[in-house]
Symmetry: D2
Subunit: 342 residues, 4 copies
């Protein structure tokens, strides 16, 4: 079976996913596209040589009987309504973060999905598909280091542009740790606070950089995440989990080791896209494979999207108030507890 995909949003990330489906992975095909900018949709069809219908909007695209799944790669504020349209039409949905810009929006999607009676939605949190995170999770799941007590993580970018403001450390950056860490340790967030260290001279006026977030979980795990988006030296994702019996740490990105001029050195990536390239490929491959094997996606769910939204809101409030904030999550519906193996 080949999953027929309609793409809503043919900007940068939409085009990358199109290229992935057409040129890199197996099991899917792009059969429809739409974009608020019609020329962008046309370019995508032409550039990737697609045999795909071009629709004026998401509503028209979703109505196409010739698609099984929808990729939502438009801008964030448009996600919720597209997801709801697709779910109502019974289409599978792969939606880039955020699932919705508000926790309420996520709940509306959850309700729609529950009404449909089967999971349809996967959120684009690709870290879970990274080989390093997968190894780290396996180490924890096999109880190699005992109960988790602390997590120390860092998310560093070489630089960001002027449009990146203090709050985006949460919505664009920390959001990936928010999803990956609760998944990694099977725990829920309880509270969050933020510290602002001395600011780097490389950050512009409206950006506090770096920032350090301290999250506590319901089990009492203390999670410390440094977000530093003008670290200059490269794109670097670090994660160390401290357990009762030992410690486990994310592997470094493999690099040739060069000895030269009194230094032994390895390369650090600059481009974040390269860091998770394989993970992007695997998340979409897994999306297709799970649809074929189980008739529903197995990746990050609408509930994970909701967790991310609620936690990000608490982080933003912590940034504004300087105070510790509770992360007030509802009860996880039974609906999202089922586990299928992929």
């Amino acid at each position: 079976m080949t999953v027929r995909v309609g793409v809503i949003g043919t900007g940068a990330i939409g085009r990358e996913h199109i290229s992935r489906v057409e040129n890199v992975i197996s099991g899917g095909r792009i059969t429809a596209v739409t974009d608020v900018n019609e020329q962008s949709a046309q370019s995508a069809v032409r550039d990737f040589n697609l045999n795909a219908a071009i629709y004026p909007d998401d509503q028209a695209l979703v109505a196409d009987g010739n698609i099984d799944a929808v990729f939502i790669t438009s801008w964030g504020p448009a996600h919720e309504s597209s997801v709801l349209l697709a779910v109502e039409a019974g289409k599978y949905v792969f939606c880039e973060k955020p699932l919705a810009t508000t926790a309420e929006g996520c709940l509306r999607i959850i309700e729609a999905e529950k009404k449909h009676g089967r999971r349809l939605v996967q959120v684009g949190f690709m870290r879970r598909y990274d080989e390093g995170y997968a190894q780290l999770k396996e180490t924890l799941d096999q109880n190699e280091i005992g109960n988790v007590l602390m997590v120390r993580a860092a998310h560093r970018n070489a630089a960001v542009d002027e449009s990146y403001k203090t709050n985006m450390a949460v919505t664009e950056t920390l959001i990936h740790e928010i999803d990956a860490l609760h998944w990694l340790i099977h725990d829920d967030y309880h509270s969050v606070k933020v510290d602002f260290p001395r600011k780097t001279k490389h950050a512009h006026a409206e950006l506090q950089d770096p920032q350090v977030f301290t999250l506590k979980t319901k089990q009492g795990v203390l999670i410390n995440v440094e977000v530093f988006v003008n670290c200059r030296y490269g794109y670097d994702i670090q994660c160390e989990v401290i357990g009762e019996e030992g410690i486990a740490r994310l592997p470094e990105v493999p690099s040739v080791i060069v000895r030269k001029q009194s230094k032994a050195s390895t390369n650090i990536l600059n481009d974040w896209k390269l860091r998770f390239m394989d993970a992007y490929n695997k998340e979409l491959q897994n999306f297709f494979d799970a649809i074929e094997a189980y008739g529903q996606p197995q990746g990050p769910s609408a509930w994970d999207g909701y967790i991310a939204a609620v936690t990000a809101d608490a982080c933003l409030k912590a940034q504004e108030t300087g105070e510790e904030q509770d992360v007030l999550l509802g009860e996880k519906p039974e609906f999202y507890e089922q586990k299928l193996h992929v």
Copy 2:
């Protein structure tokens, strides 16, 4: 365009390539299969849900107008005749090692391909597609470490079974280094000798293990390759290149770092298939991509297959005689000098 592939040989490696094309990579489709064991061919079609014709032999399969390319994954002695059939029929060929069991056989294929006037054949030396080797090659090609003076490599397997004899250290194991290293350093082999260190107690009577091969190139580069196939601790491929200005080394396979019980440790693979999984995927993806982009493959050529055959013969003779042996290569035909970018 989708490359339609006929598979000759549906044993273990044939099935893996079928799975790759159908379930993992893009741009190809299996449309025909054959095997000396017809039931094996039928199983492959059934297990992978192929929409593919089953042929009684390679001749019949090659004659199918419905295929663009042939995968040759039968046993070694059968390769040459299948390749020649396919080349004569103007089909693209992806042939697992060895291209032919003799240097003469390789030359016959080269002649046939030259007669056809365009490259058709790619040999399955997957190391070139490994991310680590690619980085190492880029380091050398960018002249990061100056002229190459020496190479130190090791090829270690945890264990081999009883059928693996002393000569197979060349034909099954060193053969990968033979291809990868001349490609890596843009040089040709001039001579080879072998040393037999103290034998491990874990090797059976008919296997000398470990063995150390010393190859000299036309430029004078000294290459030292340890082949140790009962090293017990895992599958481990090492390669260090010593240049006039510095040294470059293959990265380790990335692994979670665990601190536990007074040790900091990383995992070493045991299964060789996992080590080059990505490389296998990339070599076939590249085979399809190059056919689409240039109408000819860009990977290891029939000439590379010939180099491997001649060098392996010299290595076998060095094993038998205990003496240094010359590697007598003919002149590289102009035909194989052309370079296309993929």
Copy 3:
């Protein structure tokens, strides 16, 4: 010149320093000892074959015209009075931590030393003499990574005994980071708070373990120190400094790398004494060398002892109250600003 040393306190650490002076380093000689337990003093003289007077108490020992310097290795509460006696007598003092159990006590010592008109006192903060810390400091001092923004450190012991309570995480453990980190980054502490993560099951009832201390400096540097004294896996000291242009990290303790049974592993020390063995040797060697070269010690001063006391007090209060506490340091006296090179 040979520095003649009187030792006050011949318990475990006193004996180690005696052995160091007599058997490992140069420039000193033990000429007098005392201990509250006279038999302990006699054993030391006998076991190390000392040509040394045995005194009934510190007062008598300090009065000996035959000693140039005093090592104070008694229990903490006795330090202050011994230091004051020695300073009044114009003897050089090497005092193990704490210099005094209260900030006021440290100030009294400072006053006495100022009155004497020249530095006499060195406090036993040996980390500064560790090769790794020295390299890290040089990296920072040469401005390799720009202005410091954050520090992430960890102090882990395999296990502690029942006598170790929650507050000792400050007085016995964190105290080393308190001294080393302000020295490392040339900054003063401004405030401190503490978080208590999920408690390990390996800690007894009266010990919260692990603990995470967050210190802010006057320059705004955010310092995060994990103290985890039942980490099980070994004795492990980590320190990473995040700067505006890059990041620098303490080296690991060197260890043979073994590949065996599917793991590549290095050893982690269990015994903290081995970790800083060289540093202990160097701090005493440096104490003697500086006395010879400059007529005064160059290592951690009474002022550093005062900083440690004030900061430790704030940390203890943070433990008790759960609130952020200010670190209220007086102005650093001119007297301690002078720098001599060793």
Copy 4:
């Protein structure tokens, strides 16, 4: 007890050992010096503030009843006669390499020492006192990796001056591996050959650089040592031992890890003296300690000096002839089999 030392040869290395004894280690004192250049001897006394007699030659110095041991740090050709004088006078001897410039010379020393009836002589092979080699040896001695099958070593210097010729790769450089490796694996050399790889452009006309030595032991262990003395990038000593059950490797020199400008890097030493600084200190400390504890030195013996001489001769002949050469060692005298623990 303090060992009273007479120093024969107050050049660079003599002065370093004097400084070590006087300023760094314990248990010895310089009480006499001599040098062919009398001014050099006078400078040493003055610069290090020695309370030492100055003698016109080694004969006069050895006759001094006020010395227990002799350091021989003159130029190589003078070693043998000084050692013989000292042994005849019953003095302990610490002799820098070579013990004698010929195997016969070493045998003469061995005979003299046997006649004396107790070990007196230690040769200055400091590698055995390096912490990394000590760890490696312990790993092997505890049978962590089973029987040794191969050793791969490299000895790289950043650069050498014009006076360094091809043969000095043996006498100045490989000589350290010759001693360290047979000690490490408890085995004797059987034969040696040498390969000359492509020559680096950074070597002058009379120096073949790099060179690769292949030594076989009586147990069949194959040892491969690269000597590369213009490697440009630094001073780098590598050693990997391949056993039946696993592999062990010398640790790297610890260095701060810096992440900066898209690289993670550690520093590589340039100065060989820094690499083995601690080992130099420990070898002399151990010389003094063993004299005190056992009345005889425990370090590399005259027999080890003889092994080095015989093996170096075979290596030089291998360089000249291009052929494999036997290493013809006599039987090890019972006299050198005794083991005392230090």
